[in-house]
Amino acid sequence: MNTKRTWKTVESGPRDYQEALHPVVRKNYGKWHYHEMLKPGVLKHVAENGDILFTVRAGTPRQDSVDLIRRICDIADKYADGYLRFTVRNNVEFMTSDETNVELLIKELTAIGLPVGGAGPCVSAIAHTQGWLHCDIPATDASGVVKALMDSLIDDFKSLRMPSKVRLSTSCCAINCGGQVDIAIVVKHTRPPRINHEILGNICEMPKVVARCPVAAIRPEVVNDKPSLIVDNDKCMYCGACFGACPAMEINHPEHSKFAIWVGGKNSNARSKPSVMSLVAHNLPNNPPRWPEVTQVVGQILAAFKKEGRPWERMGEWIARVGWKHFFEATGLVFDKDMIDSYRHARTTFNQSAHLRF
């Protein structure tokens, strides 16, 4: 840094929110009475004093250009008093007290290519991770997978025809920054890391790498006269955790890094407890630019859920009701032995009962 600084940093933390609140929000802050879902992507919130606020929600690419953001701001200025917000799923929301603005918002958003929807019993936007665009450890491109998937799911985003909310996420490595959702698309490696012994000793803190392995498969060893690490391939289960700590543990592979599909995760406490998701398909190819195999499997799962799920029933709740056996039948997916848990708490997932469906 050569330039002389004239500004002294203000460690302000989160941006102040008061000035960011829509006036009707500010006025009725903490005093909302109820809401209704008027149509796809349109909510109506009613305050205790009778004030009404309409919200129009639209999808975005998340990886936005300033051009797009400015266009969005233009719309907000025109129809939403200069305010807007984003949801935790990368949708953008415009609020207005003027009902006539609702249709105008929908029209203008559609015009700039942003689909209106994502609220209520529908497929909302897919949680994004970084992928080849920016991350240092990805095996795929999350944004690309998301775009391809959403192209096939856009009608489910724009309508209210799912039994309940459907959350999806895509993660470009097994770490899964996307979290627990109804359907997750996550990279799964199928080979141990190839180790770059030439550079390992120089660029990695070896004890930290050793400590990172969940199954203690890594140990120090001198290779070609250089201190390095080696992996016990019998123990290694290809998780890639070591790669996050050390770029010389090359886990990514253009062919052998695959996709797995997970279902039934849920964060809300509504009805059933929050739940982790389960593996239901793997060995799907990492097939850019449009990953048709992934879209296909997700489609099968959604079709079955759409058909059989009851109102308000989340994916995992539907499966709990009809049973996993039926889930596999209904989706056409195949249970295999790798789907039997073998990790720390595996035993707690064994069927320790005679409860059985035929």
Partner: protein, 412 residues
């Protein structure tokens, strides 16, 4: 520069091929098809307009990644003056091949709680970012940051100073306090049991130094959800989930219940509401809906279905769940309830909460290993030991059932 060589080249002349600034990106162009808004189209438009080489480089490298199914970024330490984190540094491993995106660092910028904006602040941010950086912005990162993606190290300080001047600060990265997320809460949601935005703001302001200077065992995330619907996914995605809760009975507007029934039928009441209550705490008595609040476990379901008729009780506060995280090493962990109920009305309530958080983090710093999330530490040393360590009382609310094995140590 980079030519697609996967034999997939399409004859179709896409819009982008008419541009002159960018190199061909046939694979990426496939992502311009379809109805969902395309980040590729956005990037290309931005690049063509601004003619920024860094964007051409980015697209070239991304195209090459698509062709080779390989990523080419490597981590790199980049910071602003006085901070140890907040910039995620990225240098290209193929800068010899594609020099224009040799560096592509990202600012994690903390937005306002609840992700509220006025257009002025957003336009301002766009302008600054277009000036110094690539013009690509992720709204938002999974943790909740604004991610200003793509800047060279030389421009980092200048750019930061400008956005900081405009009222923004950086978010977390590394073994530090991380940026928090809060649901829209009282701003627009009738379910909010506490002021998520305010608590987010106060808490993160308090921990501002710990965000900027990594000194923990590993990351620590707060998420603030106004009710058990948990719209911030706090349970599996934050170390400390702060979830709105009520202690007394669900508020019932009997007339509105009747209106709902009249509109939706008694069958719907039974099939959709009553039948979905996890503890069967809702009874039908002479055509009326009666809630057995002692057996209600605050799941929100009935309130969600009938927001006009039912609301959380009046005695409100938060419940705290500690230790949520994703899959690394131990498998995904949900946060464990460690404080069933804590008032969150007065400043003192807030201070008590912050104080407890500090005590907990201190305990973790003392007892945790490197790269060990607090949930892992608790699992390793024991929940009882944790409670003793931070001075919390054990309660049956913290477990689904008492232990099923006699393997504990108790001397009398």
């Amino acid at each position: 520069m980079i030519k697609a060589n996967n034999g997939n080249e399409t004859e179709k002349v896409t819009a982008s091929q008419e541009n002159t600034f960018l190199n061909p990106t046939p694979m990426l162009d496939e992502l311009e098809n379809g109805l969902w808004p395309s980040f590729i189209s956005g990037l290309k438009e931005l690049a063509e307009r601004t003619r920024k080489p860094i964007l051409r480089g980015l697209l070239d490298q991304l195209e090459y990644s698509y062709q080779t199914k390989t990523g080419y970024w490597q981590g790199s330490l980049v910071t602003v003056h006085g901070y140890g984190s907040g910039v995620v540094g990225r240098r290209s491993m193929i800068k010899d091949k594609i020099p224009e995106a040799a560096e592509f660092h990202t600012f994690r910028v903390q937005p306002a709680p609840g992700l509220h904006y006025n257009t002025k602040m957003l336009r301002n941010l766009c302008d600054t970012w277009e000036k110094h950086g690539s013009g690509l912005i992720a709204l938002h990162g999974q943790t909740g940051d604004i991610m200003l993606q793509g800047i060279e190290e030389a421009k980092v300080q200048e750019c930061f100073d400008e956005i900081n001047q405009a009222g923004w600060d950086l978010g977390g990265a590394g073994a530090a306090m991380r940026s928090a997320a809060s649901c829209v809460g009282p701003a627009r949601c009738e379910h909010a049991c506490y002021d998520t935005l305010k608590l987010h703001y106060k808490t993160l302001t308090h921990f501002v130094s710990e965000i900027h200077r990594p000194q923990y065992n590993y990351k620590f995330k707060f998420k603030f959800s106004g009710c058990p619907n948990d719209c911030t996914n706090s349970i599996f995605r934050s170390d400390m989930a702060v979830i709105g809760m009520w202690k007394d009975s669900i508020q019932v507007d009997a007339a509105a219940v009747q209106t709902w029934i009249d509109k939706n039928s008694i069958d719907s009441l039974v099939n959709i509401v009553i039948n979905n209550c996890p503890t069967r705490a809702i009874l039908l008595k002479k055509g009326k809906m009666v809630i057995d609040n002692k057996n209600c476990i605050r799941c929100m379901h009935c309130i969600n279905v009938m927001p006009q008729a039912l609301s959380p009780g009046k005695e409100r506060g938060v419940t705290l769940l500690l230790g949520g995280k994703n899959v690394l090493k131990v498998g995904t962990m949900g946060g464990t309830m460690i404080v069933p109920f804590h008032k969150m009305e007065t400043d003192e309530d807030v201070q008590n909460f912050i104080h407890l958080s500090e005590t907990i983090i201190e305990w973790w710093n003392d007892n945790g290993f490197d790269h060990e999330r607090i949930g892992e530490t608790i699992e390793r040393v024991g929940l009882k030991q944790f409670l003793d360590g931070v001075g919390l009382e054990a309660s049956i609310d913290m477990v689904t059932q008492p232990r099923s094995n006699p393997y504990y140590k108790s001397e009398y």
